[in-house]
Amino acid sequence: MEKAGFDQNRVNLPLWLLAEVSYKCPLHCVYCYNPVDYATYGDELSTEDWLRILRQGRELGATQLGFSGGEPLMRSDLEILVAEARKLGYYSNLITSGIGLDERRIATFKEGGLDHIQVSFQDSTREMNDFLSSTRTFDLKQKVARLVKKYDYPMVLNVVLHRLNIDHMQQILEMAEQLEAEYVELANTQYYGWAWLNRDKLLPSREQLQRAEEITNNFRNRVENRMKIYFVVPDYYETRPKPCMSGWGSVFLCVTADGFALPCHTARMLPGLVFPSVRDHDLRWIWYDSPAFNAFRGDVWMKEPCRSCAEKVKDYGGCRCQAYLMTGDAANADPVCDKSPLHSLVTDAVERAAKGFTSSPPKLGGAASEASGEVPFGTTPALRATPPNLGGELFFRDDANSLSLAGGKKQPSA
């Protein structure tokens, strides 16, 4: 292994530990960022594994802990992990769809010291058009909202936006108001995992976005401080990339359900990097010494135009996963940046979004080889410029699709 060019004193602490405790999920969201081949992954970590990770993370200085997934409530030992997190001094956040949250569980979480619950709002059915009128979903969310309030948590709603629901902005906000949400995050889909696969059906047009923002601003003025509303635009409509993860290996450490440590939620897809398993290594080695966590620290890995760009200290060249997905090389500039020679990959996608899309039968087989991440690291640009299922139907995140997309692959990709 090449000596890591960073001594411990120069690397920031991993303040954010994300525990993706399970890839299992009762929902089948088309915009999920989880890896498309998740169904082929190995065993979930044990309770003991997670307790060890929580201890190690805290020793490294992590203060915020997220329980996520998949759906974290799928783990029946979540109560144990929550209580341990509090004992260790984490501020713990449960990031959930709310499905599986009943009074018995929330009472135990409260007693164990869970600090915060973020409920995501999404459809739980394939009938996208029923997204907002689904009585079943609305009842469930109301029940969850009541529980959240009863147990003295702030009501924090997260709504993922895409072209199929963004035109319902007014109804979404009214629903949030009915649920007495105190915070609403309207987060446009980011295009990774399943969302990447479905991108051309999910990316809203500029017109849709502008309308949604206008509605949001009007609503915000009406409710004032009663409800804090955040609107996150899709970065495809920006001209500078997001400072992804505040820099690679800078703040954020994610541990997946099957035990791999990642510097971001989706880095697992990047070929050529060996992401360490927490079964084999402790978090200290992983954070400071593992080649994967050092791969994109600092700026020595950068190419032009990033290398000589004054803004590299602000955005770190953007998102490595997006650079890889769209240009085929994770070390390229994030093509969202209009200084990138490949920025047209983004503007082309936006143009297609303006034209809308037509539906045709799904081509599961065709997508498999593209989606399984077998393109070697650093191959020619533009190889993966577009998602693989152009013209197909939406891929719902479920085990059957995952297995098909993995193309019979037996081993985890990490």
Binding site: T63, G89, Y91, N93, D115, Q118, Y183, N225, Y230, M245
Partner: protein, 103 residues
């Protein structure tokens, strides 16, 4: 990661005098972080660093101590300094940020 809950609702200005009692705001947690060697305030998906005197002041905001007592206690701990102005200024700032609230 965006930190929905990280929002700070600007509180209305309040009259602040020696008898005012503050407590740490709901859903915030104040603690010492050994790894950072400083006090911090944790809230949903976020953290405020409180180096030096800011940490010393908030350490004394406990829902029972009056502002006058906090000033006196700090002046005992750090003799020779006239801290009243700094303490009041910081408490106003912390209240404006929603970190503390009057009891």
């Amino acid at each position: 990661m965006k930190g929905c809950g990280a929002a700070v609702v600007k509180a209305d200005q309040i009259p602040l005098n020696d008898d005012t009692i503050f407590e740490i705001a709901h859903h915030y947690r104040f603690q010492w972080e050994p790894a950072q060697q400083m006090h911090v305030l944790l809230y949903p998906e976020g953290m405020v660093k409180l180096p030096g005197s800011s940490g010393e002041i908030l350490k004394r905001v406990n829902g029972t101590a009056k502002v006058g007592e906090i000033v006196a206690d700090l002046e005992r701990a750090f003799p020779g300094a006239d801290l009243r102005g700094d303490v009041i200024e910081f408490l106003e700032h912390a209240h404006g940020k929603g970190w503390i609230r009057p009891k």
